[in-house]
């Protein structure tokens, strides 16, 4: 910041604004881990002492492990499916002349902005009309709808980020579309695929509303947390659980973004490899 150029000169009000922004965004979240280490079942100041007993208590609870297993199963399947579908959608959107491409992409991205409760209710009505019993499978379907736009949005910059003639060269050197995809396209978009897997897993793992509407007897982790909120004596353990989920989610999303960091830069550079 020492350089005095017009763009890079220090801007004090902007720095203060950025600091306030981050505080407002993250300080409330930080109360979760803070109180999860507090030696009291009541969440209020002053703190009464440091303890890790809530975490140990969590460890011994069977239903938590069940819920975790359910969430991992759903998250795993959803991330694989949505990324698999996302790869082909992103390839089609970026590589082929599709009439009405713009509206089509907006339509695909719609679940990002439509309230989930509407999707949840709609799916519930549909499933009950079809006579399909609610289970982890129906939760998976609901999560797939939410995660597909995330997957596509992550992958499109990757596909746009490399020179199309690289795929043409492969065809020119004798490889058909199948081999071209596996020898050129897939390795080129692979960081995007990893990022998409991580992001969609996280979204599914943290999702509550769809799971609330569409799950049967088996709860996912967020639903378990919600069910425990009625019991005050359970609350510190819920805080501990929430803190763990928070840490894991942060790690996953940052890792995904880090792996995919080249996408936007290479898209901007165009043909420069």
């Amino acid at each position: 910041m020492s350089s005095g150029s017009y763009i890079k000169r220090p801007n004090r009000p902007l720095q203060v604004y950025a600091a306030i922004f981050l505080i407002v965004l993250y300080v409330p979240v930080l109360f979760l881990p803070l109180f999860s280490f507090n030696d009291s079942i009541y969440v209020n100041f002053p703190l009464s002492g440091f303890t890790t007993k809530w975490y140990f208590e969590l460890w011994d609870r069977g239903p938590v492990w069940n819920a975790l297993e359910n969430s991992l199963k759903v998250g795993g399947v959803v991330s694989l499916l949505s990324t698999f579908l996302g790869i082909f959608a992103a390839k089609a959107i970026t590589r082929y002349r599709i009439p009405g491409r713009g509206p089509l992409v907006s339509f695909i991205m719609l679940p990002l902005v439509v309230p989930l409760i509407i999707f949840g209710v709609a799916l519930l009505v549909l499933l009950s009309q079809l006579g399909i019993p609610l289970s982890l499978y129906t939760v998976t379907v609901g999560h797939l709808i939410i995660c597909l736009p995330f997957s596509i949005a992550t992958l499109i910059p990757r596909f746009e980020g490399f020179d199309q003639s690289i795929e043409e060269v492969s065809a020119d050197l004798g490889e058909n579309a199948w081999w071209t995809f596996w020898r050129v396209t897939f390795p080129m978009v692979f960081p995007g695929v990893l990022a998409s897997l991580m992001l969609t897993f996280t979204v599914s793992f943290d999702e509550f509303i769809m799971a609330f509407f569409l799950s049967g007897t088996e709860a996912t982790l967020p639903m378990y947390i919600w069910s425990q909120l009625r019991f005050p004596q359970e609350f510190p353990s819920v805080l501990a659980l929430a803190s763990l989920i928070l840490a894991a989610s942060f790690m996953f999303v940052f890792l995904g973004q880090w792996i995919n960091r080249g996408a936007y830069a290479s898209a901007a550079k165009g043909n420069e490899l």
Partner: protein
């Protein structure tokens, strides 16, 4: 289709929607020929090349390579390989694996495959570069890797889409010589797309000059430069002075023309008959006019004028001379061997002289 044509483009049209990119093009290219498609951007040259490679379909007409119609042959089945303008080196592979990319189907042992790659690296004079990453290469090196990657498959035809366009002038001239030497070594047919007329003249056996999706003229470099068929070709290749004229005498195949600017000129024209009074255009290259500041002996092929402007370019100079009857100054180019370089005072009377065979006669446009 002639028998010795290796590539035969027959009456090919190409439309993109309503836009006609290629308009009834027919070209025959011989075996081992260095053939160039020359034209400014948007003239259809790259579209034609991509049709040879199979990346674009023909709207009508047919392309034959080695006697086989290509309409229903996809790019990966064609006996051609292409070097792209952007080189398109695979960034996730090193140099060796880039060059070996097309060998997968040949099911060679790893040792055999890499021996072939080393041979190619030798040919392109980058023997130590096999383990380099694609991102660690300069433009000229990428260009050579792209060449090697195509040549290792021993294609019958190599297609090159402005492969030297991204290089700086010095490297480009060096690569031109190397490309030409390479083509003679490997002996395969090259089809080369460029907008640089000098490059096309330097490299090619024959050149097709294209404009608006049509071939304006197909000829050897000498033919294009010395005997352009029309004004568009004449002004695209090098510089040309044009004069309006009218046929004043026809004596067998020798015709005389009265021009606005050059006076009376004569030329043997055997390609067709001219009639008395017919309007024509007379053209002459700047370097074929001799400039002097003293009136030479004789009066044939001689015209006086006023020196308007001159530019000293080191090895040669350019002069701009106004002659009577011609609003545009006549361009003259002269080697700076002797006293010609001393003619640098503007607005002075000078004399222009030429030989009969320096004149080019074009149909009036």
């Amino acid at each position: 289709m002639t028998n010795d044509a290796f590539i035969s483009i027959r009456n090919v049209d190409k439309y993109f929607g309503k836009f006609q990119a290629i308009d009834d093009v027919s070209i025959d290219i011989g075996h081992g020929e260095f053939f160039s498609l020359l034209g400014s951007s948007g003239c259809g040259k790259t579209t034609l090349l991509r049709m040879l490679a199979g990346f674009e379909n023909t709207t009508s007409g047919e392309i034959y390579i080695d006697g086989q119609p290509m309409s229903n042959v996809p790019p990966h089945m064609r006996p051609v390989n292409m070097v792209f303008q952007s080189y398109a080196i695979f960034p996730h592979l090193n140099v060796r694996d880039n060059i070996a990319y097309g060998l997968r189907k040949q099911k060679l042992s790893k040792a055999k495959k890499y021996a072939l790659v080393d041979e190619m690296l030798e040919l392109i004079k980058l023997p130590e570069y096999g383990d380099r990453k694609a991102t660690q290469l300069s433009g000229g090196q990428r260009q050579r890797i792209a060449l090697a990657r195509a040549l290792i498959l021993r294609p019958k035809v190599l297609l090159l889409d402005e492969p030297l366009g991204a290089l700086d002038k010095q490297l480009r001239e060096q690569m031109q010589l190397e490309l030409r030497a390479l083509q003679r070594t490997v002996g395969i047919t090259f089809v080369f797309v460029t907008h640089d007329q000098e490059e096309a003249l330097t490299l090619s056996d024959r050149i097709a000059v294209m404009s608006g999706g049509q071939v304006l003229q197909l000829d050897t470099p000498t033919g294009l430069y010395e005997a352009p068929k029309n004004r568009e070709v004449a002004s695209f290749i090098g510089t040309m002075n044009f004069f309006d004229g009218r046929v004043s005498k026809v004596n067998g195949s020798e015709i005389s023309i009265i021009t606005e600017g050059l006076g009376n000129v004569t030329k043997l024209m055997k390609n067709r008959d001219y009639v008395l009074g017919e309007k024509v255009q007379v053209a002459i290259r700047p370097e074929k006019l001799r400039l002097s500041d003293e009136k030479p002996q004789g009066t044939k092929n001689l015209v006086g004028g006023t020196l308007e402007n001159s530019a000293y370019l080191g090895e040669r100079s350019h002069f701009y001379v106004t002659v009577e009857g011609q609003p545009q100054p006549v361009a003259v180019s002269a080697q700076n061997q002797d006293r010609v370089s001393a003619i640098d005072n503007h607005c002075k009377t000078v004399w222009l002289q030429w030989n009969d065979d320096a004149i080019v006669i074009l149909d009036a446009s």
